[in-house]
């Protein structure tokens, strides 16, 4: 039989290979060629069957949702609001495309942040990659559009970029003034920035704060603080997406800067949030109003906080009316503790609920047990008066020589019981005893 193997590399596709035919004939089901499933991250020899297994489905859904959240958080934001990219921070901005299996770097992107990524996601090769991935791993071909950027969106984004470029060219002089100042701060913070980057996965998300937002130096202009605070506020809602979802308040600006990988500033008009009019009020922002999101975040913030506190000492002091650094720190610790306690309680109560609800529902007499528990509860509370079961109640019992269900055996027994009772009552009547008189004595009596 001639070997027809047009795509030796594509052995992962539906098997029409010679080798597999042989194997199939021997055992109908086992494929001997091992493949690697990206979603489950395991090697299997189950061929096309693998994608229908429930474990694979679970793994695939989590895998895709992770990538999708990355896309949502990072790329979607920049699609709407493109921003210029600073070359020194470009190295931190990268996206791994899981469908095409390659890293998208921002090295020569002249456009805004994540320009290369957006370009890739809109491209035809990426679409092809998405299609083949979904087909191979059985993700559902209707979900394709959520993993790529449509052409219309891409063109819109390009237009926005162009606009931004023209703006930048026009407002370049103003930007350059603030620029160097930022750089000084940036240098000192770059270490923190890099370390936090390692912690945080989606380093793309960033509305990263300009250092000017962090340092409460007294020679900050009102304008700069306005810009900085407005930037801070825009990050707030974003973190809601990125965070773990436990009660979030307004995230403190102090934690942000070091938190995110990139740093770049814009001199754009304040987008959202209140404008803080004076530096003193601005300092109130530094008092920790927000609630810590999670361990990851708090790790990031703790070093940041200590650094900030030293800066605050230099900046805000008794004379300027700033709150003392231990006061703001203590507040945060208190808040953290309260949150942790709350979380602990929640977790423990959930744990209890989980425990009680895990008793096998298929166990013997489960329904009866549940009913009885409810009855006992009610009796405890005094709502339900305990009504004694009749004297004739008998438990569910399978008799020794029974044939049929246990209910039958009970009925049988009750029936037998009745007959015994009748017999008992009948026997009771002849209780009179008479003395024995022998025949001889009787005959003697009669004879005499």
């Amino acid at each position: 039989m001639p070997i027809q193997n047009p795509n030796p590399n594509k052995k992962k596709k539906k098997h029409s290979n010679q080798d597999d035919d042989e194997d199939d004939t021997v055992q109908g089901k086992q494929r001997t060629q091992f493949e690697f499933c990206k979603a489950c991250r395991l090697n299997h020899n189950q061929g096309r069957r693998h994608i229908y297994f429930p474990n694979h489905k679970k793994a695939l859904s989590s895998f895709l949702s992770r990538f999708q959240s990355k896309l949502k958080n990072d790329v979607a934001f920049y699609l709407k609001k493109p921003m210029p990219l600073r070359p020194e921070h470009a190295a931190l901005n990268r996206l791994w495309c899981v469908f095409c299996d390659f890293d998208i770097l921002e090295s020569d992107s002249s456009f805004a942040c994540s320009g290369n990524a957006i370009a890739h996601l809109a491209s035809a090769e990426h679409l092809k990659g998405v299609k083949s991935f979904l087909w191979k791993y059985g993700g559902g071909m209707d979900r394709m559009d959520s993993f790529r950027i449509s052409e219309s969106d891409f063109t819109k984004w390009e237009k926005k970029c162009k606009l931004l470029k023209s703006e930048a060219a026009g407002g370049g002089s103003h930007g350059s003034l603030i620029g160097p100042l930022n750089d000084i701060h940036n240098e000192s913070k770059s270490e923190y920035v890099n370390s936090f980057d390692k912690n945080k996965l989606d380093c793309l998300t960033s509305d990263v704060k300009c250092s000017n937002s962090v340092v409460p130096l007294q020679d900050h202009t009102i304008e700069r603080s306005q810009i900085s605070h407005s930037k801070i506020c825009t990050v707030g809602p974003q973190i809601l997406h990125a965070g773990t979802g436990v009660g979030l308040g307004a995230r403190t600006p102090n934690g942000l800067p070091g938190f995110f990988g990139n740093q770049h500033y814009t001199h754009s008009v304040p987008k959202e949030g209140p404008a803080y009019s004076c530096p003193n009020d601005g300092k109130q922002v530094y008092s920790y109003e927000g609630i810590a999101i999670g361990d990851r975040h708090s790790q990031g913030t703790s070093s940041e906080e200590s650094r900030l506190q030293t800066q605050e000492n230099g900046g805000g002091n008794v004379h300027s009316g700033a709150p003392p650094p231990w006061f703001s720190a203590a507040e945060k610790i208190q808040l953290d503790n309260k949150l942790n306690q709350g979380l602990g309680d929640l977790v423990s109560s959930l744990g209890e609920q989980m425990k009680t609800s895990k008793l096998n529902p298929k166990r013997v007499g489960a329904a009866w047990a549940e009913r009885r528990k409810i009855e006992l509860e009610l009796e405890k509370r005094g709502e339900l008066v305990r009504h004694d079961f009749g004297a004739d109640w008998l438990p569910n019992f399978g008799r020794v020589w029974q044939s049929g269900s246990r209910k039958d055996s009970r009925k049988e027994f009750l029936g037998e019981n009745k007959t015994w009772r009748k017999v008992d009552s009948q026997i009771e009547k002849p209780s009179q005893f008479q003395p024995y008189i022998s025949k001889r004595m009787r005959t003697d009596n009669t004879a005499e």
């Binding site: 166990r363 013997v364 009866w368 008998l394 438990p395 019992f397 399978g398 020589w401």
Partner: protein, 151 residues
Amino acid sequence: MNYLLTTLTKKQEVDSMIRDTIDKVLVLCFGRASDSIFLQLDEILYKSVREVSKFATVALVDIDSDDVQVYIKYFDITLIPSTVFFFNAHHMKMDCGSADHTKWVGTFLRKQDFVDVVEAIYRGAMKGKLIVTCPLPPDRIPKFQLLYKDV
């Protein structure tokens, strides 16, 4: 008789015992206090009742009392001591290699045997099985001759 476990003498007591033991195995031992084998059984039960307390309750029933004669007839108790197992008011059967699966006749050779038996019952009940097989080897199971019906 304070060397015995909780002894039940009335049907109502037995009923409440059966109905109030929820999600635990109920071990009901029928016997006579004057019987030496019953006393030996009681000894073993007394030693192990605390160890199985998390998943089993043990009670003794005096077969000489009139009130429980109904139960004696219902459970077909002819040889003493006899032990009947309940779980959530359902009777649990155990196949020990003898003809009668509805009860355990005789005493246990060791404390551990009793614990093993109760554990097997509990595991089977939790899985939803009404009959379980005995975990003990046949040499440890007391043998008896079952009387046939109507004989």
